[in-house]
Amino acid sequence: MSAAAPLLRAEGLRVWFPIRKGLLQRTVGWVRAVDGIDLDVPAGRTLALVGESGCGKSTVGRSLLRLVEPREGRLWFEGVDLLGLDAPAMHVYRRAMQIVFQDPQGSLDPRMRVRDAIAEGMQSFGIGANEAERSERVAALLARVQLDPAQMWRYPHEFSGGQRQRICIARALAVEPRLLICDEATSALDVSIQAQILNLLRDLQAELGLAYLFITHDLGVVRYLADRVAVMYLGQIVEEGETERIFGDPRHPYTRGLLAAVPSVDPNRRGVRAHVRGDVPSPAHPPSGCRFHPRCPEVFERCPREEPRLYPVGGGVSRCFLSEPAESGGTR
């Protein structure tokens, strides 16, 4: 990972959810949603966190904002240890990190006018001297996300899905964050509308120097937006690296399987292959050894017995014995 201190760094992050049972709701086990991950998001760059449902990627996004509390690990924002902060101190950092979710319908209050939804955060952080000034800023933000500022007094239901997602982006930008976490932010949109939003996000990054953590299952979107990619499987990162390298020379069998499974729209390229067998096991009972071994096309004796570490590969890392350097040692 890069030498300069990143905007956001996570180290050994763990988020476990208790499984409770019976009348007394005793804890009988844990779902290890996030089970020891390291992440760096440099200022002004985009890190994509990819994986399939249940891999823990959304929980990572929420835990970075402490919307769910990590059980273990360290979290730094511009060198400040976020997990050591009390609620009022954390509030200050919520301004620097904003999140946009998949479903703009669910994240906008249907009874709140668009103007008030966007101005709410400004007020909470003391941005803008008075209501009139905040309204002016709302108008500018709406124009920036290519909506008509004259529509600020309307309600969310009067907008289409793509327009509502623009409103959510404007609301996030209202408090001038340095990091925007996009959790499947374009997944519910039609492809022609998704293209509009992706282009908008790219323009905003170029203009404002925003950093993005882009959480998605869509590898095409990742290729389009990300500088680096982290691939998650069952609560762990299995491969990380520069986008070009991940797509051009994937090392982990799971990454390879994911890429081979994505259908192309090129009529000369047909025939996805299901290299990855079976279904994702439950994160409450992850498999022994390498968590991917029951589905891996390249599994061998060692995989169920021993847990692979992250080995350095081409400027990134891969959690697979096949990526282990010949003269062992020298791993992080």
């Binding site: 449902s53 299952h217 996805v272 990855v276 279904d279």
Partner: protein
């Protein structure tokens, strides 16, 4: 020439909108030959799912089929008596949906549900029905099929549930399978498994498939021919290679350029400006006119007719017609 498995002619299906009714499907015609896979593609609200539901007269109220003709294996579906309709459903044509849980009962084992479907159409003993069901589970490659017969739907993953649905749909060896977004709710590795399965089954059984989807990649994997739908109408139709490789309608071209692909990086995605017009705001001419980058003055007022481009390749667009005339 033999009768096609499916022939849809000038289908109109409407829903209430404001004070009147709006045609979600507005004069759609297409055919599907024996053993062929036709993909009906388009974005949300284009009318592709309503078209699929119309085929077996499953349009939920207050939706209504207004006019047109639907022939499945030579029989006119729209005038069939309800009792006859039941024999068409399942035997001639079966349907699978995006979300298997909406079609599976949560209180019965999946095996019992497949067995019931079999015994409904053909008298057989419980033991026989079980044997046949387990064989079907095997055919759709459900691991450990005998044990899975006794599972309840909630005990199965999304991919396995979709396999059960496919087994149930194929139980009576229909000539036509209507698959509405069959892989949309699945993760990409599971989607790849289901696509492989559908491709193999189609080859083995020769079932004709009408595939309804928004995903052009999925279309490329399965389809022989593609029909592109926009705001209730077909705008382009052709073979897979013609539509994905030589698209002529500005909407099809826009859709293809808007897909972020694994192969490209850097260049900006092409946007289709604006949004799909509401049914009440559709222009009287070409429905894509409000968003079209190359529209002519007459596009907003005159509905375009079919312009044949090559055998099997048709576009409905004034601009294409004009270019061809030159």
């Amino acid at each position: 020439m033999s009768e096609p498995v499916l022939r849809v002619h000038e289908l109109v299906t409407s829903f209430p909108a404001g004070r009147g009714r709006a045609a979600a499907v507005d004069g759609v015609s297409f055919q599907l030959a024996e053993g062929e896979v036709l993909a009906l593609v388009g974005e949300s609200g284009c009318g592709k799912s309503v078209t699929a539901l119309s085929l077996l007269r499953l349009v939920p109220k207050p939706g209504r089929i207004e006019s047109g003709s639907i022939r499945i294996a030579g029989r006119e579906v729209l005038t069939l008596h309800v009792s006859e309709l039941r024999s068409v459903r399942g035997k001639e044509a079966a349907m699978i949906f995006q979300e298997p849980m909406t079609s599976l009962s949560p209180v019965l084992t999946v095996g019992a549900q497949v067995a019931e479907a079999l015994r409904l159409h053909e008298p057989m003993s419980a033991a026989q029905a079980r044997r046949r069901s387990v064989a079907l589970f095997e055919q759709v490659r459900i691991p450990d099929p005998d044990a899975r017969f006794d599972s309840f739907p909630h005990q199965l993953s999304g991919g396995l549930k979709q396999r059960v649905m496919i087994a149930m749909a194929l139980a009576l060896k229909p000539r036509l399978l209507v698959a509405d977004e069959p892989t949309t709710a699945l993760d990409v590795t599971i989607q790849a498994q289901i696509l492989e399965l559908l491709r193999d089954l189609q080859r083995e059984l020769g079932t004709a498939i009408l595939l309804i989807t928004h995903d052009l990649g999925v279309v490329n994997e399965l389809a022989d021919r593609i029909a592109v739908m926009y705001a209730g109408r077909l705008v382009e139709e052709g073979t897979r290679v013609q539509v994905l490789g030589e698209a002529r309608h500005p909407y099809t071209q826009g859709l293809l350029r808007a897909v972020p692909s694994l192969g490209r990086r850097g260049e900006r995605l092409a946007e289709i400006p604006g949004v799909v017009p509401r049914p009440s705001e559709r222009p009287p001419g070409c429905r894509f006119a409000t968003r079209c980058p190359v529209r002519l003055p007459r596009c907003a007022s005159d509905p375009p007719g079919d312009t044949p481009l090559a055998p099997g390749h048709v576009a409905r667009c004034h601009v294409v017609a004009q270019e061809l005339a030159r």
